[in-house]
Subunit: 294 residues, 2 copies
């Protein structure tokens, strides 16, 4: 990994995680509800969405402080989606990132409510940000609700569940991924650019970049599932296969999936050149996501 | 019921229901998700929250058209809360308003997603309202998120679940009701007054009125559960008792509960006089809620 990116990730990941925990801890709410929210917030992960938002903001004329609150709201929405997706009625996952899932540590009712709470509070948090104008708040809330609601992430999860146990085409697969994970990644990058002072034309290029970043992320996820190190990825090899999930390697073969990913890397980098960014950080991010081993 | 209120309820309930169905129908989203959202939206009910918002707006200098979109967003949030509350992991209800609950007609995963979708879309709908300024939108979203999230309705549901199967005091009971249903009723009345042009002092009185209206609603619910007509209330008499729920009649006796309700009616009416409203509609609403048989 590029040294600059590595330093950026280490520094900003700590800020994001500390602030997130602080924000949820400071809420005056029932203790069991708070414990359940905090459990999943603390479970961590890569904080990819807030990091992309900050990187995008800094790629224009912005500072991380300008988007920090919005990036935390975004991570809350992402965390809510993981809690609900893991529920027995949904993907019925017992572990996430090596730790028992929320509903197994607490109970299903509490997990459902913790998800509902994180989603709802994320919108309140955006309205409370003293650095944003009302115009910016309304635009950001509109985009976040669209990206995460029935036209975005919720649609993706709904289609994903309907697609289990049946063969789907590459086009269908990519539509599901775009809705389920791509929309929030696009939100992250677009809003970072918007607050960072990018022009409308630059934002349009960043949206293209975001689209390919989402696909690169997913292709690599599927590749790791068949050829990764189970210790590093935190789940056994071939779990998609046994879950009857459609994946890139299944549809294109492992070599075909790797080739597809390289095409997307080229397309993401081309969009970035057109966006005329002032640092290399988003370019390094593409390499990092494409070559990650976990 | 007062003739004016009766005409108001009939006319506005139809507008609200028609517009709500239209709004959800027009979404370009996966069909199963949309069907599930529409099922609960169509299941209807009294549309009490939108009606109170409109009544409050018209009690000052506003028209129903000014708050219609926000009132629909509010009803979506209320509908999401019913879908999630009915889930097997929560209250495990098989019927609502005489019809099978959402997760029994569809499935649990779809019901969870339909709830998530309605909640998220409600915020997008507010940002789309062309009649509101950005300042109004931000204020309304902030209040809605607070009233429905972990400091409001979600806290109430969380405390309510923790209170099952144990004795609680009247103070605890009222705190739970205030969070679980009172917060959204207060949002309805407060935002109606705000958009209707009420002064800060008038809004403060409307908030007091709203607090008592919420309690009156709840006391009457509990009274109907022990002395209502099962055909009209749509559930057997004594179901709270068999669910081990704390209620007003249980804590105060039936006569004590009726007396308590009358105290609250007086307090609601006193707040209304101080709010200096220009019509009788909110006063008639108190009588209607206090004396309803369903």
């Amino acid at each position: 990994m590029e040294e600059n990116l590595s330093a950026f990730l280490t520094e900003k990941e700590k800020i994001i995680s500390d602030e997130l925990v602080q924000k949820v801890k400071s809420l005056s709410i029932p203790s069991r509800l708070k414990d359940s929210m905090l459990y999943s917030i603390k479970a961590g992960g890569k904080r990819l969405r807030p990091l992309l938002m900050i990187a995008s903001c800094e790629s224009f004329h912005g500072t991380y402080q300008q988007v920090l609150s919005v990036s935390l709201a975004l991570e809350m929405v992402h965390t809510y989606s993981l809690i609900h997706d893991d529920l027995p009625a949904m993907d019925d996952d017992h572990y996430r990132r090596g730790q028992p899932t929320n509903h197994r540590v607490f109970d299903e009712a509490t997990a459902i409510l913790a998800g509902d709470a994180l989603l709802t509070y994320s919108f309140e948090a955006i309205t409370d940000d003293p650095q944003l104008t009302n115009e910016q708040k309304v635009y950001i809330i509109k985009r976040l609700a669209k990206a995460s609601g029935p036209k975005g992430m919720v649609a993706g999860q709904s289609l994903d569940m309907a697609a289990e146990n049946r063969e789907i085409t590459l086009t269908e697969l990519e539509e599901i991924h775009d809705l389920k994970t791509g929309e929030l990644l696009t939100f992250a990058l677009e809003i970072g650019a918007y607050i960072g002072g990018a022009s409308i034309k630059q934002i349009a290029e960043i949206r293209k970049y975001a689209y390919y970043v989402g696909l690169i992320f997913q292709v690599q996820d599927d590749i790791l599932d068949v050829s990764g190190d189970p210790e590093k990825i935190g789940k056994p090899i071939g779990s998609d296969e046994s879950n009857m999930k459609s994946t890139y390697p299944k549809l294109l073969g492992l070599d075909g999936a790797i080739k597809k990913k390289e095409e997307y890397v080229d397309l993401a980098e081309a969009a970035l050149i057109k966006a005329d960014v002032k640092t290399n950080i988003l370019k390094d991010f593409v390499q990092y996501l494409s070559l990650r081993d976990a």
